[in-house]
């Protein structure tokens, strides 16, 4: 066996539950994961080769062929396209001499697409050799490629200053900007690490912590909005030899990037929140599941963890509380939106393909390694720290009756001030649009592709549970955009690409719906197509997880709120048009058998 490979496998004790880490290291070391490496890993981990391949082929950033000596991953999400991705793509292709999805002939440059990389407020953006490049222009793309061809280090090709705050820290050195536009009372307010851990927990029993979180009425910030106190309570009551606290930092919903800003500016707070969670439910091990796209933060986050250990905010007898032991490790994903779904995240954390589990049992009963597990979003853990510091009653005063506290919004698209805003729940969409400097607004995509696209008649609605609940992604679309093509079609392609493929509904219906949408966009649609789309959308909620359950939303909600856009594109005087074109359909086979098509 290759000695480098042997070293990697040893580093993780040949533990099959660490297969993700092993594959990530192999990919980084060799640029791809070869057949031989796959066989060696299977042998050393005592696994079937197909089981290793299952994991390997599931994730976007694992490849079985080289992706070039230098690899460009260019974001292809809706906002990237709105901000001029097409021109950047062309410039990369011209400079590299190959198309996206290929390597250049000399193998020096590989060009690949990737889903939203969490930079919607500074698009067009790409990850190049692991470094994030934002606000690209065609000229910059060309410079980057010629620099890489000339053998320059990718960091020497930065076209912008380092970003603000910790983006400029020695361990990060990134051009990414935080774009924090509004600081609320809770998360982006001043923060001193360790206050909650060291001054509050010593006088609180685990049950008191859970009660305080319950009192605050905080609900999960990852999107589903489950009451956090209740979740912790369930977990603390479940039986198991060991318990785990997992943080969901997969942040894959197109348009959200607030967790990235928290990981950059508030990692101490996040880790403190996880430790408080550990104390509350009786867990001594935490795992931060971090999306691969944020790997540029790894060294920095490891240092923050190390500092926390030194300062007794992690480790043994934390804050002087006897028996309060807790530590955290970072688990990277490898590019799969579905891994943000909590049970898929657990599967992935165990080294498997990110396929959601059947529920129940829920993770609070059987989670990571089948032990009781709490999973929360980054923002949820951060908020808990302030709840413990200042009390549940303090927290509850903010926001609305049903939705207490503050919420971070990731706002992007057609507005003057894209970025992260900490608002109190209850703000209306109109107020939000004014806050971000948006005018001439056609629509707002609330909560990303899995949410809904709403128009002006709904702009008086409130951002809160019970009305417009949201994980925080807000995309503003102005009147110059072709909404169905620029937004709806892009989002449908996203879901088709990201489905894990387990449920027939999720695997097939979004594809059929997208084809029908394309037919309408091509002027071949009829009224019946709109009715079909509405009917088919109703099938999807039977899917196993939230991805499939919401995969029709881009089409379903745009028909609901912008029916006129569809009706304007379909033929009114025809009641059936299949869009079938015989000449096109026989072209390939006739060419292959050397025959002139004679269709009539």
């Amino acid at each position: 066996m290759n000695s480098q490979l042997e070293k990697i496998i040893k580093k993780y004790d040949s533990d099959k539950f660490r297969l993700m880490d092993i594959l990530i290291d192999i990919q980084a070391e060799f640029g791809f994961i070869s057949k031989e490496a796959t066989h060696d890993v299977a042998k050393e981990l005592n696994m079937a080769v197909v089981d290793v391949e299952q994991t390997l082929t599931f994730y976007h950033f694992f490849t079985q062929k080289s992706t070039g000596k230098n690899t460009v991953y260019l974001n292809d999400s809706a906002v990237a396209c709105m901000m001029g991705r097409e021109e950047i793509k062309k410039a990369f292709e011209e400079a590299a001499g190959c198309k996206f999805g290929e390597n250049s002939a000399d193998g020096l440059i590989g060009l690949y697409n990737t889903a939203c990389i969490g930079m919607n407020d500074q698009e067009p953006a790409a990850i190049i050799n692991g470094k994030v490049f934002t606000k690209l222009t065609p000229a910059v793309a060309q410079q980057i490629v010629s620099g890489l061809k000339a053998g320059k280090n990718v960091q020497d090709l930065y076209h912008q200053e380092l970003g603000d705050g910790k983006n400029a820290a020695a361990e990060v050195k990134s051009m990414v900007r935080n774009n924090i536009r509004r600081r609320g009372q809770v998360i982006l307010n001043d923060f001193t690490p360790g206050v909650a851990l060291k001054t509050k927990l010593s006088s609180m029993q685990p049950k008191d912590v859970i009660d305080e979180v319950k009192k605050s009425n905080i609900r999960g910030r990852g999107g589903a909005g489950f009451p956090t106190g209740l979740k912790w309570d369930f977990c603390s009551r479940s039986t198991g030899e060991k318990r785990y606290v997992l943080c969901n930092a997969d942040e894959g919903e197109p348009g959200t990037f607030k967790d990235r800003v928290l990981l950059t500016e508030r990692p101490e707070m996040l880790f403190e929140g996880m430790a408080i969670g550990g104390y509350a439910v009786g867990a001594d091990q935490g795992i931060l599941y971090l999306r691969y796209e944020y790997k540029y933060l790894e060294t920095y986050l490891e240092k923050v963890l190390e500092d926390a250990r030194k300062d007794n905010r992690l480790g043994k007898n934390i804050g002087g509380v006897n028996g309060f032991d807790f530590d955290i490790r970072i688990q990277f994903g490898a590019g799969a939106y579905v891994c943000g779904e909590e049970t898929a995240l657990i599967e992935s954390g165990e080294g498997k393909r990110g396929e959601p589990r059947d529920k129940p049992p829920f993770p609070v009963e059987k989670g990571y390694l089948n032990m009781p597990t709490v999973i929360n979003n980054v923002e949820t853990f951060c908020a808990v720290v302030k709840i413990i510091e200042n009390g549940g009653n303090w927290y509850k005063q903010m926001g609305t009756e049903e939705s207490s506290g503050t919420k971070l919004l990731s706002i992007s698209g057609d507005c003057a001030q894209p970025g992260v805003y900490e608002i109190e729940w209850g703000m209306t969409i109109s107020q939000m649009l004014e806050m971000v400097g948006a005018s001439n607004v056609q629509a707002v995509q609330v909560s990303g592709p899995s949410g809904q696209i709403i128009g002006p008649k709904d702009f008086d609605r409130k951002i809160c549970y019970g009305d417009l609940a949201t994980g925080g992604s807000m995309i503003v679309v102005d009147k110059t955009r072709d909404m169905l093509k620029d937004i709806v079609l892009n989002f449908m392609e996203f879901f088709i690409e990201e489905s894990c493929g387990s449920c027939t509904t999720c695997r097939i219906v979004p594809k059929l719906m997208k084809d029908r949408l394309v037919k309408i966009l091509n002027g071949k649609g009829v009224m019946k197509d709109i009715a079909d789309l509405e009917d088919w959308a109703k099938i999807l909620p039977v899917s196993r997880c939230g991805l499939g359950q919401t995969a029709a939303n881009p089409i379903a909600t745009s028909i609901k709120n912008f029916r006129e856009l569809y009706e304007a594109k379909v033929q009114k005087d025809v009641d059936y048009d299949c869009g079938f074109d015989m000449n096109k359909a026989v072209q390939a086979s006739c060419a292959f058998v050397d025959r002139v098509p004679n269709a009539h």
Binding site: Y576, C578, F580, A585, Q587, C590, F592, V593
Partner: protein, 182 residues
């Protein structure tokens, strides 16, 4: 009143659906009392001789001839029924839809393990032959289809109930057993 006229055809199917029509057993005699058959493999009438009321289609479209026949049916029948999985979804033949058509032809005529006689590597390209489509299309992606009867093949009872419902104008009797497939 003259009897309603029925036509049937098998496109890219296995004739299993037609077998299932015959599987209505002795009721076939009742059927002949109720309807007149026109173009159909059942009576071997090859071309439409008059306008029909009901057209029953087995199989999807894998070549230009299938498309041609299907369009003829649409022209000559008031009501079209897609009968069986192949007509409704493409069925077994549509398994090739994930594979480029060139590869399918290469496998069938040049490189497949059972290709032993085609030493010169001849590919079928005579103008008389139907042209192969890039993929197998379900019928409703070529012409408008009015009703769909699922199954592979649909049970004889389902076909019978559907025809009786159509002919009598009554609601269709669809007990669980006739639409349960496993």
């Amino acid at each position: 009143m003259s009897k309603p006229i029925v036509a049937t055809t098998s496109l890219a199917g296995c004739f299993g659906c037609h077998m299932s029509i015959l599987d209505i057993d002795e009721r076939i005699l009742d059927l002949f009392d109720l309807v007149e058959f026109n173009k159909s493999p059942i009576d071997d009438i090859k071309t439409f001789t008059k306008q029909c009321d009901i057209g029953i289609i087995e199989g999807g479209c894998c070549n230009s001839e299938n498309v041609h026949v299907l369009k003829e049916f649409r022209k000559n029948c008031k009501i079209l029924i897609s009968l069986g999985e192949c007509a409704i979804m493409g069925g077994l033949p549509a398994l090739r839809n994930g594979i480029p058509v060139e590869e399918c032809i290469r496998e069938a005529y040049l490189e497949g393990p059972t290709v032993t006689l085609n030493k010169e590597g001849i590919l079928p390209n005579d103008d008389e032959l139907p042209m192969i489509l890039d993929k197998v299309y379900p019928c409703h992606e070529i012409v408008k289809i009015d009703y769909f009867l699922p199954g592979c093949p649909p049970r004889a009872d389902l076909i019978w109930n559907a025809l009786v419902a159509l002919l009598t104008g009554n609601e269709m009797d669809l007990p669980y057993e006739v639409v349960k497939f496993d």
